[in-house]
Amino acid sequence: MANYLAQFQSIKSSCDHLVISVEDVSDLWHIVKSGFEERLPFKRACLNNKTRNLVYVESLPAEFILTTDIRLRSRFPQELSLFWFREPYATVVLVTCEDLDEFKTILKPRLKLIVQNDEREYFIVFVSKAQPNNDQATKLAKKIYAKLEVDFNSKKRERCCKLDIHGPDANFWEDLDSKIMESIRNTLDRRVQFYEDEIRKLSEQRFMPVWNFCNFFILKESLAFMFEMTHLHEDSLREYDELELCYLETVNATGMKRRDFGGLERGDDQAALVKPDYKPLSQIVQDDSFREFEFRQYLFACQSKLLLKLDRPVEVASRGYSFIISFSKALALHENTLPFCMREVWVITACLALINVTTSHYNDGVLAPDVEKEFYRLQGDLYSLSRVKLMRLAYLIGYGMDIERSPVNSAALSMLPWPKPAVWPSFPPDASNEVLAKEKKILQANTRPKHFGIHRKPLPLEPSLLLREANRRRASLSAGNMFELSPSFAEGLSLDALRTPPPNKIPASSMSRTNSSPGNFEGSLDRPMRISEIHVAAEHALQHTISDPDLWKCLSSVQNFEQKYLDLTKGAADNYHHSWWKRHGVVLDGEIAAVYHKHGNFDLAAKSYEKVCALYSGEGWQDLLAEVLPNLAECQKILNDEAGYLSSCVKLLSLDKGLFLTKERQSFQSEVVRLAHSEMKHPVPLDVSSLITFSGNPGPPLELCDGDPGTLSVTVWSGFPDDITLESLSLTLAATYSADEGVKAITRSTATILNPGKNNIFLALPPQKPGSYVLGVLTGQIGNLRFRSHSFSKGGPADTDDFMSYEKPTRPILKVFKPRPLVDLNAAISSALLMNEPQWIGIIVRPIYYSLKGAVLHIDTGPGLKIVDTHVIEIESYTKVLQTSTQNTVDDRNSVSAATKEFTQLTLNDGKIQLPDWANETTSVLWFPVLASDKRLARGTSSVAPQKQSIVDGMRTIALKLEFGISHNQTFERTVAVHFTDPFHVSTRVADKCKDGALLLQVTLHSQVKATLTILDTWLDLQPGFVHTGHDDGRPSSSILPLIISPSSRAGILFGIRLGSATTGDEAEALEQGSILNIKYAISGNRTIGAHAPVDGESSASEGNELGLLFRSALVLQRPVLDPCLSVGFLPLPSGGLKVGQLISMRWRVERLKDLEEHAVSPDNDEVLYEVNANSENWMLAGRKKGHISLPIKQGSRIVISIICVPLVAGYVHPPQFKLPKVDEANISCNPAGPHLVCVLPPTLSSSFCIPS
């Protein structure tokens, strides 16, 4: 059957659609042909697939062929069954008849003959030519058609339909379609059944020796082809898949005899993945099967063709990629028979072919997004596979120097084994010029030094040394693996060694091994090849292998190779960018960048490198980043991109320390510093977060009171390899809980030198608002450059692994407390002090958990108070004061040694006192002497009418201001009120009035102070008008003195006084001046309680006690108001009453009540001056209105003075007034007083009086 292969091939190529035969019985085809062919191709054809499920084929091409056509004739019966797929799938019998008899006699038998002939699917189309208006013809046609139906229709199947040429044909064409389709479907089913049966039969014999794969193949492919013709591509594809499986089974079956693999013909190196008819099958047949190389490609090509017809380019790509991989493995198995590097070349061409065919069939945007991504990924894979193979070929022919030794290329190439030809291609004899050229190139090629003087061992691009591998493969022919025996030799021939070829070394080292390979070394054939020779040999061999001129052109020169390499890399990268595999894309961008970089296209290179670096640094792949970043930096430097270059240098510095040598890191730093100090056109802020990190010191945060400055200690880690000078440095503090607070910067303006590693830095902290603060951003300047570091406080040193460090919750570094009282100032005394005496005032200075170091107290006394600045000021511990005051209330402060730690004497400077250090933390009492002055004399009050004393009088204020805190930033102000008072309050009363005119004056002394007062002496200075009863100065008898008055108690002293003679004129003056009570007293009190002995008394206590203090209080004594000496009486008027014009005698009697001896100042004591005054309108007086009368000075002498008066006016009028002008009114007793008014009656009517009108 294999002989039919050629024929099969030609049949397949000639027919690609279904055939429907037309049995034109009545010669009608030319009439209906156009109508029939209009139906082609069939729309929505309904067919059964292999599993007998209905499948709708959108468009089914077919052809109507007359049975008389030559194509349907002249077929051998054997062909008929084998190539059954090309036979007609339906037979249309075209008939017409206008006569019933003719039908019965001629047509019917003929039809019967046609349809009974075989099992052809047929149906009869009766064409009626009857005109629609010709009723008879129409009826006849109907009749004949009815007959036809009766004869040929069965119950199961209708095989007739009728076409009215002139009539309406509404239903006919649909009927025709369905009839044709039914026939095709049935035929197809039957043929599928047939092929399946055949195939099954053949499959059962598979393991028999007679089995022939070709036969199986023809049957299987016939079936597949039939499916393809009927557009059941899915089924067709399945058949091909099965065929492939079956083929692989036979190929891999053990025990099968070894067949030729194929692939040895010219042009085989170009993959025929998408070219099913690249080679006729008859050419690849071998024995009873096919050569693997061609046949597998053929099968794949058929599959891909069907997949493309199914519009599934993605599947083509995915199947293609795995096919290439698996086929490449197969090629590897047969590599020793194939031409040199056949495998690599095939893969390249296969990938490129697949890429071409899939992209041309690919419609963008039709597929689901994930399928689309998958497609691009596969494209990328294909590109990158071909790229790797191209690099391998290029390396073999000596372009290895131009391939970037990047991780990508190294990963791809160094794990890819060398080609394993049976014998490494030998060096062509006439190529010495090429060898020289290659050698020259090798010598010229010097590895480009990396920027910053970075030296790295280049990554390998070769799985093992090519020189060694090539020579081994050559030597294995004759000399065994002698290079493996002498590794030193191979190393001697390594790339580096070639630059200085050691001419003597080869023979020398080989001589020692000559025993294993006697004498063969000197022969030119088996002489170990030099690397340049290997390259030339490989180039020649490849030239033979590669049949595609385009591909060869790519390898013909370095430039062309680079171009192709760039194309492939770009293709891969672009496609990967569209897929899920972004990393692949970006990494390949880096490879493109490397090429640009090499050719000085720094702009593009930098752009691509940036992407790569962003990828690596974003995910923390520092090792890979360290490889690319120096390149980026170099590009940026060349492009004068200072900002980028700086940040690259900083990034380089912040990479793991192990990735670069110290020297290299130092050069990074020097670049940074150089740029920072240069005049940059556009100074950029520098982010050194990864390089300079900082944190507060471990332990509790610094705690400050509100308003206090402080010193913040911050730990700064420097990632620089050398010391670095920071021109300035500032840190922001961010309040943790209040968002509106914003951040405040604290600055250290002096230059700071950071050592590598940990540094402690102290920053002066100005007063902050209350709250808790965390460190914010570190900013500063290196040279002219501002830098920032955002890193928050980290627990550990910066060098651990600062990428991806998940931020710890930031720890507050500073707490500023809310304002609270830090100190309290209070007066230490509770009761009044002595007025007008220097007194100690105690101020309790109580620090409230706050140090008063360096505190200064300003004391400002108010009006009426001054500090006795001649005296020292004392300060002592408050606890001590408490002890003394509780134990012993008496003033024993002398026992306190001035030298003890907690007692200090201070002096006042401009109203300021510096507190001693020991008082920083403890409560202390500051004592300073003051003198409250009150110029007014204390006034005693009468106990009869007690006068309220105002407390305000004795109130004095002291304004205190304490400046304290670390930099005297805190102040505390308080005004302390101190009450001063006189020691006594004096009240007086006249205790008794003796008959002899002596008065007992009781003076009550109220103690006003909480101290014991001792009255040493007291006397009374009387005002004029009073005299002491005795002849002394009124001191009380000394037996009662000294008189001790306890606090808040009273004491009384009696003074005996009497009225003295007083001139009347002095009376008022004497009242004003008053009497003075002088009390000499001593005081014994504790200054912690209140009044105490005056400050001065301290120094001279003994004499002070003797001298005592003097208290003066004014007393006002008043002489008794009434002291009548003379009595004046108005003698009664006549009872008849007064009448106008009537003379009456008014009489006053003057009587001496007592002797006026004392008052007799004038010589005429016995004479009294009198005066009578009267209103002259009312009265007319007769007699002497004024005159002296003699009145003996003896008590009881009396005299009556009469004055004749005439009332002039009637009514109530004042009577005339009698006065004694020279006698004080107080000495005149006018009792009874003269009447206030007297009644004057009108005159009796009388002619003798005429009142002029």
Binding site: D370, M415, P460, L624
Partner: protein, 143 residues
Amino acid sequence: MIVCIAVVGHQNNPLYLQSFTEADDALKLHHIVHCSLDVIDERVNNPKKTGPTLNETFLGLLYPTENYKVYGYLTNTKVKFILVTTDLDVRDADVRNFFRRFHSAYVDAVSNPFHVPGKKITSRTFAERVSTIVKSFGLSTAV
């Protein structure tokens, strides 16, 4: 032969990478591991593909390349283990077993209170244990 084993954190940052090649070419293994993250991402982000293996930690073969194989393993905390081997016929069961043992070693290493989560694993004990596991993997495939 296993040439490389790597632990990659949930942010795709390398946590541990140990190569077992003699040559000084760890960088290319870095590259392979890094790029294979693409495949893991693709599988994890494509629910259609990971449908049946929803709770499966073993991701299987990531790269069907010609010369080496990359296997992946994804823990519940999205930490990835990546294995690069040059053995071209490796049984999945072996790899699963390897990863299981490696996982327990990893869990022990990160349970160390001195280990900072998300930082590189620097434990020497872990490295020793890993190399033991790697060696035994070679043995089991040889047998």
